[in-house]
Amino acid sequence: MLVFNHLETYLYLALVLFAIGLYGVLARRSLIAILISVELILNAASINFMAFNRFLAPHPAVGQVITLFIMAVAAAEAAIALSIIVAVYRKLKSINIEHATELRG
Amino acid sequence: MLISPLMGLMVLLLLKEEQKFLIRAVSLVAAGISLGLAIFVFVAYDKSLGGLQFVEKYEMVKTFGIAYHVGVEGLNAPMLLLTGIVIFTGVLTMWELETRTKEFFIWILALVTGVFGVFMSYDMFMFFLFYEIAVVPMYILILVWGSTRKEYAAMKLTLYLMAGSGFIIPGILMLYAASGLNTFNMLALHGVHFSPWVQKAAFLLLFLGFGVLAAVWPFHTWSPVGHVAAPTAVSMLHAGVLMKLGSFAVLRVAMYLCPEGFHYWAQLMALLATVGIVYGVFVGLAQTDLKYVIGYSSVSHMGIVCLGLATGTVDGLNGSVFQMFAHGIMTALFFSSVGYIYDRTHTRDIHELGGFSKIMPVASAFFITAALCGAGVPGMASFWAELLVFIATVKVFPINGLLAIAALVVGALFALRVVQTTFFNTPNPKFEHFEDVSPFLGLPRMMLIATLVFFGIFPQTMVGMIKTAVIPFLQGM
């Protein structure tokens, strides 16, 4: 299983995740889906941190700590996002981003 | 001198809108003090000594080498005198103002503070700061108290001038940066010898920037519109003093700091100036609005100023500065008399007016005097100025000089046409009932005329003063 002993593998994985997340953010119309895509981006970042930490960081714990932090932050973010989404739903009776088109120009 | 308008301003802020007389009185006193100081400086200036006198200096920002550094020399002493006279008469002229009096005088005084500052500053930063202070109140003054098409005019004027500053800032900073002295002090910067490229670029930027305010062709279109829209005193200040800021700045900053750049662009300057002179009179011929006419005459006269600067000779500069002074007074006279007539008749269309010498002989006498002065009749200050400028020009740029001189004919035609249609012929019955200028309101105009004639008869008093500065100035270049 040499593949798993290479930094590149994880970097590419993270990159793919990042790309998927970005694509999701740009392409999906449902707020929930967009939120999930954002989470993907964050996870991509965490994977990077872990990978780097695992392969070439002097201090073993740093990456994991960071990842933990990111999880926490992501959780908070999700909570806030959801609450706002609920508010959106209340106001617009929809969670389709394309219905939020009041502000322009 | 800087302080007195500020003081007046402060006091005005405290006053109530209702106490109109008090407001006027205060602003008049403020103006009077500054006039007095200006005269004092002009007289007390030691010509034999020359150089910079009455210097005040105070470090403001050491890190960037900004300092409050003012002084008086032969170049700006006349300008100070001019400003003093014009503001004083201006305040008197606007004595009858009723609407939003307080604000008006506040802004006027603010403007004047700026003007004094520009003329006296020897620190580029403060120079520019005061420059802007002088320019900006214009917008409000025109917009609130102005007349025809004021929104358009005010916006146009302000943006135009600000665009000018858009050129000035890089120019100034370029010199600042290139000197590497980390100081804005002009006297210090004058010592530096900038590389030719810097000089050319900086001079061009500064010339264009300040040229806008000096109504150099083709950046003049704001000035007639602005004059027309502005209320009387503002037109007086604006055409009389502010436009001089431009030319003065070209002299004091651009030419002073980058002589090589000046020599490189002198041709262009002369060309633009000449075009301005000829162009101004011809366009003025076709105008029917009194203020437009005057506006274009200013364009032409400012052209003469620039022409004088472009020659870069002692005569030219003497004439040019003298012309700044003379034209300032003259235009102030123009506008104040026109303003008086307009306030009565509410028209400035020269065909509608007519025979005013019959209705209000004094008022029209004022205007006619100004017009003759504009036509360059001897015995008036401006004659000498133009004489000097033209002689100097023919020597340096023969073609431009001859063209400019030839324009004088049209200039005469131009002035007389207006005078004839407005003040001669049979009076328009509509205006027969208007009474003439009251002695009190006549006073400021009389002062202006007196100034014109005095310096027309004793030009040496002025030229001698200017010379003290011009000769070293040119040696420095």
Binding site: - | I391, Q420, Q460
Partner: protein, 655 residues
């Protein structure tokens, strides 16, 4: 020299007093007629006395070669140094006296003429202004000072011509006069500018007239330089002395009150041009080219104006044209003298005599006009002009003098000029001169005869000639308050007195020739009497008179100018050689129509339009960019990512 010098002081007073009175009247007393009058009179009498006293004090002391110059620096710039001072030599002294005298006489005369006019005080103020500037012009020591007074004279004439400003024609004429003379003055000014440099190169600052002449005499100035300057300066002369083609302003200038016409537009101001030539005679003389140009132009002027004079019906117009022609005549004399290497005497002499009799003629005309409220001498004749004794006699004297009949002044001066012309290799000039004299005599006596021998009232000729416009055409608003005492009394004394004085001058001046010459040139040439020329001259004059008699005088005459035979010509003359039309066209089409319109258009559309275009395009681009901010957040995000990617790529490339 300091101003403590008595001569300087007196000269200064001569110049300053009228100015003072002008200022005082204009500022303070312009509502109080009597007071203003007294001020102005005092301020013109004292200079008169001073001038004559100077004349007596110095008339032996000074010569053309070594005049008295007394001056202080007026303006000292770098290359430009303007002295203010006085140059006293025979020429200026004499002229000083003439000007002072005539000005004084005119002021006396005007008491009657302008009486009761609303602008009485203003009139006297302007007269004083004129007096001051004319006197300083005459006595100026430097060219620039001379130029300044020259301009001021123009200003005064502008004010005086347009005196009745309610009248459109008057103000128009004033404007015309000012602008047209300005037109010439520009040339003058340019000439001075060049002269400044040429003199500067000789490091003689200040353009002292004496220095210039000295430089010209000693040929310090090259031929080309002299020619250039002389020609340019002559433009000024042509403007002021109404030489072809810019003579058009002078006839119109008759719109002014008649005393003004007498003072400015015949005796003094218009003579200033000729005077300038005499001042700078050495300069002009030094350039043959310039002088021949002058000769040609002046000849044209002479003929043109006298032919027009033949058909004019307005008495002042006739005198005006005769003035123009006489000025041309003087210029001819001077140029001929210069070319013939002779002296300036002839022209200058004619200048003095002409000043006397032309002023006389105008004042008489003034009397008639004032009396009959019209300018048309046919009308005067029908209304019994001959009944006014004093003016009738004096006008005849003046006419004789003008026609150049012995023993009147004109005879001698014309003789002198003829002599100069005679000396020219080309006899054409003298021929033309004689022809001019003939014409002069003719139109002069046309007037006289018509006035003297009116036809019976039922005579058919009146149908053509007796057209009396209501309100008169001479001096509009003015004569309304004077129609009251038409005919009911003779001529007011104040008006008669100057006539007599001038008439006396016209009679006696002729016999002062040698004295004057001696005074002017220091020595008088023995006159070899050229009888042929004498005969020719007198003959031409007499034949002119005779023809006039046939056409207008004799009972048989049917009041038709011989020119009537050639209608084309007559019309041509009546239309004043179409000069006015030409200038009018020039002004309307070229100045207003072309330049002014084009520039204005350019200003509106191109310059201003350009600016506005910039502004609008800015706003437009703002509106355009605002579409970037779509309502769809995802598009914005996309854009964001794309830009980010772009920057990333740029960096990767740029590394």
């Amino acid at each position: 020299m300091g101003s403590c010098d008595p001569i300087f002081l007196s000269c200064f007073l001569i110049v300053a007093l009228p100015l003072l009175s002008f200022a005082v009247i204009m500022i303070f007393t312009w509502r109080r007629h009597k007071l203003s009058l007294s001020i102005s009179l005092t301020c013109s009498t004292i200079p008169l006395i001073l001038a004559w006293s100077l004349f007596y004090k110095l008339h032996n002391a000074v010569t053309l070669a070594k005049p008295i110059i007394t001056q202080v620096n007026w303006l000292v710039s770098d290359a430009v140094i303007v002295p203010f001072g006085f140059l006293l030599d025979p020429v200026s002294l004499l002229m000083l006296c003439i000007v002072a005298t005539i000005a004084w006489l005119i002021q006396i005369y005007s008491i009657g003429y302008m009486e009761g006019d609303p602008g009485f005080a203003r009139f006297y103020a302007d007269l004083s202004l004129f007096g001051m500037s004319m006197l300083s012009l005459v006595s100026a020591s430097g060219m620039l000072q001379l130029f300044i007074s020259w301009e001021l004279v123009g200003l005064a004439s502008y004010l005086l011509i347009g005196f009745w400003y309610e009248k459109f024609s008057a103000s128009e004429a004033g404007k015309k006069a000012f602008v047209v003379t300005r037109f010439g003055d520009i040339g003058f000014f340019m000439g001075l500018v060049f002269l400044t440099f040429f003199m500067k190169d000789l490091n003689i600052p200040g353009l002292g007239i004496f220095d210039i002449n000295g430089a010209a005499l000693t040929h310090k100035l090259s031929e080309a330089q002299v020619t250039l300057c002389a020609l340019l300066i002559f433009c000024g002369v042509a403007g002021k002395s109404a030489q072809f083609p810019i003579h058009v302003w002078l006839p119109d200038a008759m719109e002014g009150p008649t005393p003004v016409s007498a003072l400015l537009h015949s005796a003094t101001m218009v003579a200033a041009g000729i005077y300038l030539i005499t001042r700078l005679f050495p300069l002009f003389a030094a350039s043959a080219t310039a002088m021949s140009v002058v000769l040609v132009i002046s000849t044209i002027t002479l003929l043109l104006s006298s032919t027009i004079g033949m058909v004019a019906k307005d008495i002042k117009q006739v005198w005006a044209y005769s003035t123009v022609s006489q000025l041309g005549f003087m210029a001819m004399g001077l140029s001929a003298a210069a070319l013939g290497g002779s002296t300036l005497f002839a022209g200058y002499y004619h200048l003095t005599t002409h000043a006397a009799f032309k002023a006389l003629l105008f004042l008489c005309a003034g009397v008639f006009i004032h009396h009959f409220g019209t300018n048309d001498f046919f009308v005067m004749s029908k209304d019994g002009g001959r009944k006014l004794m004093i003016p009738m006699v004096t006008v005849t004297i003046g006419a004789l003098a003008l026609a150049g009949i012995f023993p009147f002044a004109g005879f001698f001066s014309k003789e002198a000029i003829m002599a100069q012309l005679w000396h020219l290799p080309n006899k054409l000039w003298v021929g033309l001169g004689l022809f001019g004299a003939f014409l002069t005599a003719y139109y002069t006596f046309r007037v006289i005869f018509v006035m003297l021998f009116p036809r019976k009232d039922d005579n058919p000729v009146w149908k053509e000639y007796y057209v009396r416009e209501p309100g008169g055409h001479g001096h509009g608003a003015h004569d309304d308050d004077h129609d009251g005492h038409n005919g009911n009394h003779g001529v007011p004394w104040v008006m008669a007195f100057p006539l007599i004085v001038l008439a006396a001058f016209a009679c006696v001046l002729g016999f002062m020739q040698t004295g004057l010459e001696k005074f002017l040139l220091g020595e008088s040439h023995p006159h070899e009497m050229n009888y042929l020329l004498l005969v020719l001259a007198v003959g031409s004059a007499l034949s002119g008179i005779g023809l006039a008699w046939l056409d207008w005088g004799s009972p048989a005459a049917k009041w038709q100018g011989f020119i009537r035979k050639v209608p084309v010509l007559e019309n041509f003359f009546i239309q004043k050689w179409y000069m006015d039309h030409f200038w009018r066209w020039f002004l309307n089409t070229v100045i207003y129509g072309t330049f002014s319109r084009i520039f204005t258009y350019n200003d509106r559309r191109v310059v201003d339009g350009g600016v506005d275009a910039v502004a609008f395009s800015t706003i437009g681009s703002g509106r355009l960019l605002s579409f970037l901010q779509t309502a769809f957040v995802q598009l914005n995000l996309l854009f964001m990512v794309l830009v980010l990617a772009g920057v990333g790529l740029y960096l990767l490339m740029g590394r």
